[in-house]
Point group: C2
Chain length 426, copies 2
Amino acid sequence: MADERLRKGIGALRSTEALGHEARKAALEAIAGAIDGQRDLIHRENGKDIGRARDEGISSSLLHRLELTDEKIDSAIKGLLELRSLPDPIGRVREKRELDPGFVLEKVTFPIGVIAMIFEARPDALIQIAGLAMKSGNSVVLKGGKEAMLTNRVLVSIIREASLPIVGREWILGIESHEDVNAILSLDKEIDLIIPRGSNAFVRFVMDNTRIPVLGHADGICSVYVDGDADLDKALPICIDSKVQYPAACNAAETFLIDSAVSDAFLPRLASAFSERNIIVHADERSLPYFKDGIAACEDDYHTEFLSLECAVKVVDGIDEAIRHIQDHGSHHTDAIITESEEHKRRFFLSVDSADVFCNCSTRFADGFRFGLGAEVGISTSKIHARGPVGLDGLVTTKWLLSGHGETVAEYSGRNGKAFHHKDLI
Amino acid sequence: MADERLRKGIGALRSTEALGHEARKAALEAIAGAIDGQRDLIHRENGKDIGRARDEGISSSLLHRLELTDEKIDSAIKGLLELRSLPDPIGRVREKRELDPGFVLEKVTFPIGVIAMIFEARPDALIQIAGLAMKSGNSVVLKGGKEAMLTNRVLVSIIREASLPIVGREWILGIESHEDVNAILSLDKEIDLIIPRGSNAFVRFVMDNTRIPVLGHADGICSVYVDGDADLDKALPICIDSKVQYPAACNAAETFLIDSAVSDAFLPRLASAFSERNIIVHADERSLPYFKDGIAACEDDYHTEFLSLECAVKVVDGIDEAIRHIQDHGSHHTDAIITESEEHKRRFFLSVDSADVFCNCSTRFADGFRFGLGAEVGISTSKIHARGPVGLDGLVTTKWLLSGHGETVAEYSGRNGKAFHHKDLI
């Protein structure tokens, strides 16, 4: 039975945190070296995947992602070596408190355990994800896009063999079939966290079909609100950047809300800029006249993640209507206000219930690298555990460690019991 | 339809964080005052609950928990006023980083949103929970034990009416029926977190029947391992305290693992101490001869949370077998090692995958108040979000707030793009 085989394979995985940071760093270096040294093998297997994908007529954009060029390998190796030099995310003391003299409580970071990562047909993502798992002492179950099956298989094998002599335990497992993905969704005793990447529909499917905690986001319906107190010279490039800089990204803006106080001044400029860039605009009744090729917007357009040079525009009467619109239509990912009013900025920051809330800059900044997190695990729209762009911190949990000298609760109980002194040491 | 009514009621709840800490403090004070001022009404309703419970012949221990004495009211009021004086858990800046001069990113704590708390028939718990929610700016859905229905109803009404003039919004909702509990488990769009308290079976039911994140624990199968390098004079009182100080608590020990290196020296002392306290012992083959009224242990005994003066004992050959036993039988709640060996302590701390891992002290210390967390929301065995005893921190999430002056990602892209300087400000 596939389930039992998988359960056994996952059950055999072991965390690597106990080996210490030096061993995990050495493993990252060995993995980088092995990938560098076995480029020929990787290219050969990748070539087979590409050949088959071509025969099956997949799109050129998918083909482009599937191809593991030397440049991509260089960049993946560089990523591993950068990860190597980051500080150890494990064993960090987050709290330290004396309960009583010499009776010390610490809250210390540890790996979460077994993390399952399901990702699209980009073999370089596999290298990055395996590196993140090794850095954080977690073991990992990897499922990449089926188009990259042979490339993924050889990569997992190279990574496993390069690290095994150093870590001395199984910590990485590749799975390949769609059935195996369905099977792991039910392994809530064995798997501690799932990180799915890919289409909205796929992420939603994972979220809806597992009891394992999921780190990720399905929709990225991001809005830019141009306030009545906006500096319109700032607003225009921000609107353009949020939409066109990389329209397929989850943090690209889909909806532009324009305060009626500035709509007459701003919409002609926005319409002209969007028209130059061939952006299809779904506009509400009040903004439609400004967009000569605009389409009358329907309610659905404000719930749509276009992921392309297409967007929705709506005129609102002030900040409260803008906030309400975002609460009712957004996906709690990233929303921005353009304003010179400190009071409006403050209200927007407080009231918009999204992972990232920005003022006077592009929504496209919602990204782990731009945020300076070192490495990005993913972007989470959950309010639990990790929210927004998530760095290595998202792959750790904590333990409470308490060191005593024979203390009992009975001593600290009752009328004449000892009192805790609870002295924070950090 | 019950579901629709409930969905509307919950949909009308609003967070109170935007009002600021002073308003939330004032609300806590007003609630404390109103409870103090309406003791007669509370006692009258509580008396009706008690009368009905007596007629239905409920146990005296349940009756004891149900009765809201003046002493319990005093203590609940004291709790509210203590909460009032704790620092604001909301608006704390956890990270602050300049991405570029004047372009500032902050990670700031915010309320999670709507929290559902389901708790046993202890009306004083309702007051505490409502206070925690108000302090953290969350809104709350409360379901207490059905035996306390009238008391809970009047308490919710007093709390709501005392706070409404200050907060100006609905933030608390009491629900009463079993059907409503089942209904809220499906409201994963409306409810952000569920905190269930009560029997293991009930918590497990909640965990197994909702997609809403659950903060809590089902089982508390805690172990004490007496190492070969233990100071047996410390080990004995710790074993006793872990078992007898409050056997019904989740952090009481259920299993005692004794290293064979010290079993001959330690088991006679343990047997005598346990016998004096009338503890029923399920002992493995090697330890059974020491316990004159001992019962031969079966595998199930090591998976059982006795919650009474009953326990399991097993002789193990060294620390590795102890760790393996805990991994295979424990519930990742609280486990302790008794040892004078720094190396064994370190290995136990690293390898035991539990929320709380202790050395040379009683498992009973696993508690938010003893840990100095100020107020305890619950104890979580999840590795996600919050683990172990959870204070007000467990009721908050974060937002990333980014304040710019017109920055676009395009400026920071490509060969000649600007570079981020990523300067940490805290």
